[in-house]
Symmetry: C2
Subunit: 189 residues, 2 copies
DNA sequence: TTAGGCATGTAACCCGTTACATGATTTG
DNA sequence: CAAATCATGTAACGGGTTACATGCCTAA
């Protein structure tokens, strides 16, 4: 068992190191900006916030919101939290284990018709192109609010990863589509 | 809950649709040829084989190995197994949820020194280059035993995915390394 | 006024890895 | 003959998703 393991913890600490957030806001940020390389569910976030609070790595912020008492529980990171975050950031990256269902299906696709496989590829391509457009949109937003994010450059590099890898996905789809189309024609003859 | 969910099941059915295999052999194949896009542990494979056998999707092969009675339990796929495999292959691909720890660390890397982050990138690059070399090796092997695999072309396409995406990884590493090196110099001034 | 978004949380369940147990066979 | 590899399997644990429960607030 590794010292890390629980990465939700560090995602939360990381986000709280930038600004005070509620569980709901954390989820929103992950869905909007991290979705292409990370995901979290409420079932992870809320219990984790509770634990981190108990451990003293974060603390609840008293939201004195002038007029109305909000129901949102905001948290801020403590010094202890920052030092644990730092520790984790300095630890070597565990190698990710991805599971591409589409490649499994591709591998065994001689069992099914090329038409069906082509359809899978098309869907894969469409959904990833949709994501690729979000990269551009997010990058524009970033340029506008350049001063807000102290880690502006780092975010750009994360985005660059997405753009490069998603481009590779797209090119692969093009290549594979062609092969499958040829196969369809060949079979019809 | 989706009708699929349990993908180990279909990996096993897929591999058994090509040849009779034991649990141990399945693990070996996954580790050698699928490792860049799939992984399985014994703790998944053996119980799953048992279940599939009970369900009648696969059956134990009586290994009559002339001289010595082997301890290996080989399985073959049944017609029922093939039709379930086919069904799954035709179902739409669920979108994968990847978690790139390196991108999380990159995102928050303003907290740590560029030297440490650069080290992470280097390790990422090295391990992925190692994998990239295996693509070439595997492709050569494929060309040699072209006739053995009926799905030769499909395997090549899976490999092509790896080559393209891993190339994108490598290019990203180069780009990011440069940025981090500049940052280090900038800070020293 | 009702549907949808905001907001927090818990419980059940599934999936997957790790660790452990066991024993045969091969190789230095 | 000891160490490594082959080979099969189980149990425990942990991480993550889904479903559910609850209640507020806002806009059509």
């Amino acid at each position: 068992m590794k010292s890390s393991g629980n990465k939700t913890k560090f995602l939360i600490l990381g986000l709280l190191s930038e600004e005070q957030l509620s569980g709901y806001e954390i989820k929103k940020i992950v869905d909007m900006r991290f979705s292409f390389f990370w995901s979290e569910s409420f079932g992870q976030i809320y219990p984790q916030l509770k634990r981190l609070n108990e451990e003293g790595l974060i603390e609840e912020v008293v939201v004195e919101d002038s007029e109305n008492i909000k129901k949102t529980k905001k948290y801020s990171i403590t010094d202890k939290g920052i030092s644990e975050l730092k520790e984790w950031l300095e630890e070597p990256v565990e190698k990710e284990s991805v599971r591409y269902e589409i490649l499994l299906k591709m591998y065994f696709s001689n069992i099914i018709s090329p038409e069906v496989m082509l359809e899978h590829i098309r869907e894969f391509q469409i959904s990833h192109r949709k994501q690729a457009k979000l990269f551009e949109k997010f990058q524009q937003q970033l340029e506008e609010y350049k001063d807000v994010h102290s880690n502006h450059k780092d975010i750009l590099m994360v985005l660059s990863f997405g753009k490069k890898v998603w481009k590779a996905y797209d090119e692969w789809c093009e290549e594979v589509s062609e092969v499958l189309e040829n196969r369809m024609e060949g079979r019809e003859k």
